[in-house]
């Protein structure tokens, strides 16, 4: 049972291939159901594999299956194989589960779209790539999956490419990811050069983790930082986080699946997978933790000032992943994975809820034109509220336990970053409450500010059941995911399941019961503080009045302007210079000059062609005379 990892990969791949071949013909909604069944099947297989893995003894839960050799060249052999261990299976479980639900949701959301079947082609390919990334037993195959999810993300962000903004957002996402990917490639080169292998823990010499003594000092630090560069690109961390908010141009299920629940956590997964390497150098981990905390804080402040419902959630995602990266940098990998799982549930839920709102309001995303939706969309309101309470960190929902776990470890390790993390928790509760109040509370604003002041055509309406069902299921998990890892249960939970993967590298906070209670109370206080501030500021507004929304936050701390100034515009000037000086003057000059030379020569030479037969005859006579003269001279003086 535990050797069925390949089947998990093949099902979405089969769905992808089937839809590529027949998708357009079978169309709406059968294509969507086939895509959903393929991913649902992968989830069933994941459950079977997990059951098999749980049947193995605690310390023997590493199953490597090699299927064939991709290629081998010199000392490099790249096998195609799967690594099934608690970490990869935890990832697979929530990836396939959330993906299946979001496929189901998309059947309703994408209804009547021109490219209905194409959407599911991309989604299935995405799930395949993501599972390949997670299950691969070597860095290069992980990189293949990494690029696969990147390109699917690009296609899906610019899915409605007729819109200029969607097309350029796709390009932006792709380019930011490429910068990170360059770091990944360099890291693979460096690790292979030092250890002579790219397999994680299988193969001769125990793989990378068995050869870590070759990666000491500067090389180790360089490898860690290069891997973190890759993670920062994919997981939208400073300085490469700007692409994620723009990626909200894609359809909302894509934002939920790729840009909240799964793909953006790939960077966190990669760092967790490489945890023995991270353990080699303390400096690298400190840098990672600092950047994570700063990203969490920065993105949370920006989320407070956004007026697009999806932009708020996007910056919230950046902020939550910042927490995960902070946990990784602290060495609290289990806390990172716990938050990742909980986040997949509640952020997936929040995005799907936002999608339901957008669907109900006929493609309205602006918070200024929402309000009082609780009267029209009861299912959405209840499920969205559960997601909001979970992310805000209100006990006993999952977010409280997961975020608490991260903050406890940070408190024990880096006090300064803990303060930043706690402020971020207040901000998180604040911006989510603001979103909740603006969308579902207060007075109706949607038909009062219609484009021409006319009343809206439709009242906001609930989505069909294929969209409601995922909301209900996800809200259940968003509520109860905390039981996966309660602090006072020390057997049969996520911690003890994952512990063997991080044996020897996991940070132990050694906090007693007293400080833990105090920290938990601090978390609760932070969450309620944020909610209360937001309620006090935003309750019951007739019209939208911006509060605490300086341009500095709305313009994303001027990060985009900064990049535009130091990279964008100089590059544009360089391109203009190349286009109008180098291309026109130098390259075209050389080409045209050659042509001019040939023309001038021809013009000079054509004068020889008089057209008079006697002239040619004279030429022949002169030539003959010269030849004879030459021969005679050779005879007489030779």
């Amino acid at each position: 049972m535990v050797h069925l990892g390949y089947l998990m990969l093949l099902l979405p791949l089969a769905g992808f291939l089937f839809l590529v071949t027949f998708g357009r013909r079978i169309g709406d909604p059968v294509a969507g159901w086939i895509g959903t069944v393929a991913v649902g099947g992968a989830f069933v297989v994941a459950c079977i594999v997990l059951a098999g893995l749980l049947g193995l003894p605690d310390n023997g839960r590493v199953v490597v299956d090699n299927y064939f050799t991709w290629f081998s060249s010199g000392g490099l052999t790249v096998p195609v194989g799967t690594l099934v261990d608690p970490l990869s299976m935890t990832m697979c479980m929530f990836i396939t589960f959330v993906s299946a639900l979001i496929h189901l949701y998309s059947i309703g959301y994408m209804k009547n779209d021109r490219d209905y079947s194409k959407f599911f082609i991309y989604l299935n390919l995405f799930v395949f790539s993501m599972l390949l990334l997670v299950l691969s037993d070597n860095l290069l195959l992980t990189f293949v999956g990494w690029e696969g999810v990147g390109v699917c993300s690009y296609w899906l962000v610019s899915f409605w490419f007729q819109r200029e903004s969607a097309a350029s957002a796709g390009k932006k996402a792709f380019i930011y990811n490429r910068i990170g990917d360059a770091g990944f490639l360099l890291a693979i080169f460096l690790i292979f050069e030092r250890t002579g292998t790219i397999q994680y823990e299988s193969g001769p010499g125990g793989g990378i983790f068995g050869q870590l003594h070759h990666l000491d000092g500067g090389a180790g630090l360089a490898a860690v930082l290069l891997l973190f560069m890759a993670a920062a690109g994919k997981s939208a961390q400073i300085p490469l986080f700007n692409w994620l908010p723009d990626a909200m141009e894609g359809p909302t299920p894509v934002s939920a699946l790729i840009h909240a629940a799964t793909m953006v956590t790939a960077g966190v997964y990669l760092l967790c997978r490489m945890n023995p390497l991270l353990h080699v150098t303390a400096t690298g981990s400190e840098i990672i933790a600092t950047i994570g905390a700063v990203t969490a804080f920065t993105a949370a402040t920006i989320a407070c000032a956004q007026q697009d419902i999806k932009k708020v959630l996007a910056f919230s995602t950046v902020s939550q992943i910042g927490y995960m990266i902070l946990a990784v940098g602290t060495g609290a990998y289990i806390a990172a994975v716990f938050l990742m799982v909980a986040h997949a549930f509640f952020k997936g839920l929040l995005f799907l809820g936002a999608g339901s709102v957008i669907h109900g309001l006929e493609d309205e995303q602006d918070l200024k034109r929402m309000g009082a939706l609780r009267r029209y969309m009861k299912w959405t309101t209840v499920t969205f509220t559960i997601g909001f309470l979970a992310i805000a960190g209100i006990p006993p929902l999952s977010g409280f336990w997961a975020k608490g776990d991260v903050l406890d470890n940070t408190f024990a390790h880096f006090k300064v970053l803990w303060v930043l993390g706690l402020i971020t928790a207040v901000l998180t509760a604040y911006y989510m409450s603001r979103l909740e109040i603006l969308a579902f509370g207060g007075k109706e604003r949607f038909d009062k500010v219609g484009p021409q002041g006319e009343p809206a055509l439709h009242a906001p309406h609930e989505p069909p059941w294929v969209m409601r069902a995922p909301l209900v299921i996800l809200s259940f998990f968003a509520f109860f995911a905390g039981v996966l890892d309660l602090p006072w249960v020390h057997t049969d939970n996520l911690s003890s399941f994952l512990a063997p993967v991080f044996a020897g590298t996991l940070y132990n906070d050694h906090l007693g019961a007293g400080p833990e209670w105090a920290l938990a109370l601090a978390d609760i206080a932070a969450a309620f503080a944020g909610v209360i501030i937001a309620w006090w500021l935003w309750r019951g507004d007739e019209v939208y009045q911006p509060k605490l929304e300086p341009a500095f936050l709305q313009r994303v701390w001027y990060w985009d302007d900064f990049y535009d100034t130091i990279i964008g515009r100089p590059a544009q000037r360089l391109a203009t210079f190349c286009a109008w000086v180098i291309d026109v003057r130098i390259i075209d000059g050389a080409v045209n000059g050659t042509a001019e030379l040939a023309k001038a020569t021809g013009n000079a030479a054509r004068k020889l062609q008089t057209g008079y037969a006697r002239n040619y005859a004279l030429g022949i006579a002169i030539g003959m005379a010269l030849i004879i003269a030459f021969m005679l001279s050779r005879t007489w003086w030779g």
Binding site: T610, G611, Y612, R614, A617, L618
Partner: protein
Amino acid sequence: MSLSGAWYLGLAAIVFTIGAIGLLVRRNVLIMFMCIELMLNAANLTFVTFARMLNDIGGQAIVFFVLVVAAAEVVVGLGIVVTNFRRRETTVADDLDSLKG
């Protein structure tokens, strides 16, 4: 009595020169043809003379080839001249300058 080969060669040289100068200075295509024939026959005479002087039959054999080629050339050439005359009413070589560069 027999003349030495030099006389024949001298005659051939004179005939050739007449032909060459005629080709260069005359404008009428037919006259230019005759001049070419003069040059060819001067060359033939040279071949025959050397064949006699060197006792080599090869020179005489080549003359036959030259005659055949000359005959063929005249056929084609005169054909062109006649066609040209029909179209352009001229046999003056300098009028046929459409290949001027």
